[in-house]
């Protein structure tokens, strides 16, 4: 019963939305919009579960004075104050909330993203060791790609940019298509199995 009802809900919802795909009628499109709104409204309540887990983690550390409890205090203060400021005073372009977002979160997000510049260099250095033939091919093509998109590549060989473009358009695209086809078939098969209740991993434990 505790597994049967969710499986039936999954089946009914899935079949309804599947049928909707083939019906272009106005009523069907309106229903689709309502369904999307329902999914969004339903999903909002899950945020509380996430916050409960997060707050328990940090509050436990603070109360028990575990290692790093000071940092957990920073997180708790930040969450509560930013949420309060945003909800109470609004999130308009000139609000304090957006100032905090633009000058605290955005620079840190951008810096985390920019760490990729350094990590790419270290990953490339590791790839240079070329343990096997396949890694060598990956390395050679990567170097060709980089050279082909900068002036020195053209200077070294004027046909290099054309070769790079050809590689992007044909062998690269072919492999990506092959992978996408496999992924598409695999994902569709998995979705079908979920719909029909054959794949039940998402149900979690028995809990019965």
């Amino acid at each position: 019963m505790r597994k049967l009802v969710p499986l039936r809900i999954c089946l009914v919802c899935g079949i309804v939305m599947l049928i909707q795909f083939f019906i272009p009628h106005n009523y069907s499109q309106t229903f689709f919009q309502y369904a999307l709104d329902w999914l969004i409204v339903c999903g909002v309540f899950a945020v509380v579960i996430g916050l409960d887990s997060n707050f328990r983690l940090h509050l436990t550390r603070i109360i028990r004075r575990k290692k790093g409890w000071g940092y957990s205090l920073i997180t708790m203060v930040a969450v509560l104050s930013v949420a309060f400021i945003g909800i109470k005073f609004g999130i308009g372009a000139d609000s304090l909330f957006m100032k905090i977002y633009r000058n605290v979160e955005v620079p840190m997000d951008a810096t985390m993203f920019s760490l990729l510049g350094f990590f790419m260099a270290s990953a490339s250095f590791r790839a240079f060791k070329a343990k096997n033939k396949e890694a060598t091919v990956l390395l050679i093509i990567a170097v060709l790609m980089m050279l082909g998109r900068i002036p020195i590549g053209y200077f070294m060989w004027d046909k290099l940019p054309n070769l790079v473009e050809w590689i992007m358009m044909y062998p690269n695209m072919a492999a990506q298509r092959g992978i996408l086809l496999g992924v598409g078939l695999g994902a569709a098969a998995m979705q079908l199995k979920i719909l029909l209740g054959i794949e039940r991993g998402w149900l979690g434990g028995a809990g019965d």
């Binding site: 795909f21 083939f22 019906i23 272009p24 009628h25 106005n26 009523y27 999903g43 899950a46 945020v47 509380v48 579960i49 996430g50 916050l51 887990s53 997060n54 328990r56 983690l57 436990t60 790093g68 979160e105 840190m108 997000d109 985390m112 993203f113 760490l115 990729l116 990590f119 790419m120 270290s122 990953a123 490339s124 790839a127 990956l138 990506q176 992978i179 996408l180 086809l181 496999g182 992924v183 078939l185 695999g186 994902a187 569709a188 098969a189 998995m190 979705q191 079908l192 199995k193 979920i194 029909l196 054959i198 794949e199 991993g201 998402w202 149900l203 979690g204 434990g205 028995a206 809990g207």
Partner: protein
């Protein structure tokens, strides 16, 4: 003032050009009743024009207003501007040249009423494909129930999971499992959860801690259930620690920062990255590399696979991730699902080869069959 007078005189000078003819308007098929197609025969003086203005009214002889413009040499326009279902419309067209001179209006079209359809015929091939696909998958699953043993080829990354968890046990350090950025509706995330179930059974058996920071609260709920069930199944309910499976944050780079911090402080011996990843994939993999952990990654995000390949010890690519639950559990029903996928691949290969042979001979029947 003189210049303005001259300009107005130029703009109102009628074009001595024959307007387009045989104007027909009809309801766009297979839609929600919000589009009408208009076609016409080009003006014989089309080469002198800049384009055509399309006008619409609900009354045949008056009340026309401009709804669109299209360049010359084009004899088709689709009206999607607030078309109402069930309302009668009439259309007229006139020519325009580069100096904004206009021809006379064409003869108005016959009345047209837009309507919505209950079935999109353009998607018949998808419907047929869906039935064929499902039939093959279910047929394969049905075969499994007859007790046939089925083979799946070796997938290195999945074989290495045992070794990876064993390493963490030997070193007395935890396993870090990162289920990616995806939500519970993401197939990659569901595949990751299936793999986690198997990994959690091993960590329960070896009494090794497993840390699972989550980016989505619903995924966290499911993961908690899955890991708890794994520990119960192995008779180690006391080993399950709910504090080890938590919601970290819902955004990409804060999540990467948090997981990076866990890696350098908790120093897991094994890092498993399974699910959907975006740009943060390399940050996670390189940070894990610095901490010296053995790393296995699996994702269907093609753009991140190269980075996982360079930074991780084993990488499970694309479809191999979806095959994981069948591969690890060896459940006959699940393995036969993989067989079904393979049969579908053979069908696609057949269409590819046949379609190409016919296509090279000038017959595009198979190409058109896959048109969407």
């Amino acid at each position: 003032m003189l210049l303005f007078y001259i300009l107005t005189q130029i703009s109102t000078t009628p074009l001595n050009i024959i307007p387009p003819s045989e104007l027909t308007a009809y309801d766009n098929p297979n839609d929600d009743g919000k589009k009408i197609n208009i076609e016409w025969t080009l003006s014989p003086d089309d080469s002198l024009l800049d384009g055509y203005e399309i006008w619409r009214s609900e009354i045949k002889d008056s009340g026309y207003y401009k709804i669109g413009y299209i360049g010359r040499q084009k004899a088709h326009y689709q009206d999607a501007m607030q078309v109402k279902e069930g309302v009668t419309y009439y259309y007229e067209i006139r020519c325009r040249d580069r100096n904004y001179n206009y021809s006379e209006f064409s003869v108005p079209s016959e009345p047209v009423v837009s309507s919505s359809q209950w079935y999109d015929k353009n998607k018949t091939n998808v419907l047929f494909g869906l039935f064929l696909f499902s039939f093959i998958i279910l047929g394969a699953i049905f075969q499994a129930k007859k007790g046939k043993t089925l083979f799946i080829r070796k997938i290195n990354g999945l074989d290495a999971l045992d070794e990876a968890v064993g390493r963490a046990t030997e070193m007395g350090r935890p396993v870090l499992y990162v289920p990616g950025l995806g939500g519970v509706g993401d197939i990659a995330t569901i595949a990751a959860i299936n793999i986690l179930s198997q990994v959690a059974k091993k960590t329960a058996e070896y009494n090794t801690p497993i840390l699972v920071p989550n980016c989505d609260p619903i995924v966290m709920s499911v993961v908690q259930e899955v890991v708890k069930e794994a520990y119960l199944e192995k008779g180690r309910p006391e080993g399950y620690n709910t504090e080890h499976i938590f919601y970290l944050v819902g955004s990409q780079f804060p999540y990467a920062a948090g997981v990076g911090g866990i890696m350098v402080r908790e120093k897991p011996a094994t890092n498993l990255f399974m699910g959907y990843f975006a740009a943060e994939a390399l940050i996670l993999a390189e940070t894990g590399n610095i901490s010296g952990a053995i790393q296995i990654a699996g994702t269907d995000a093609v753009s991140q696979l190269p980075f996982f390949i360079t930074a991780c010890d084993y990488t499970i690519m694309g479809e191999e991730l979806y095959a994981a639950s069948a591969y690890l559990s060896r459940n006959p029903t699940l393995v036969s699902g993989i067989k079904g996928q393979d049969y579908n691949k053979l069908v696609l290969l057949f269409f590819l080869i046949l379609g190409s042979i016919l296509g090279l001979m000038g017959n595009n029947f198979i190409v058109n069959l896959f048109h969407s």
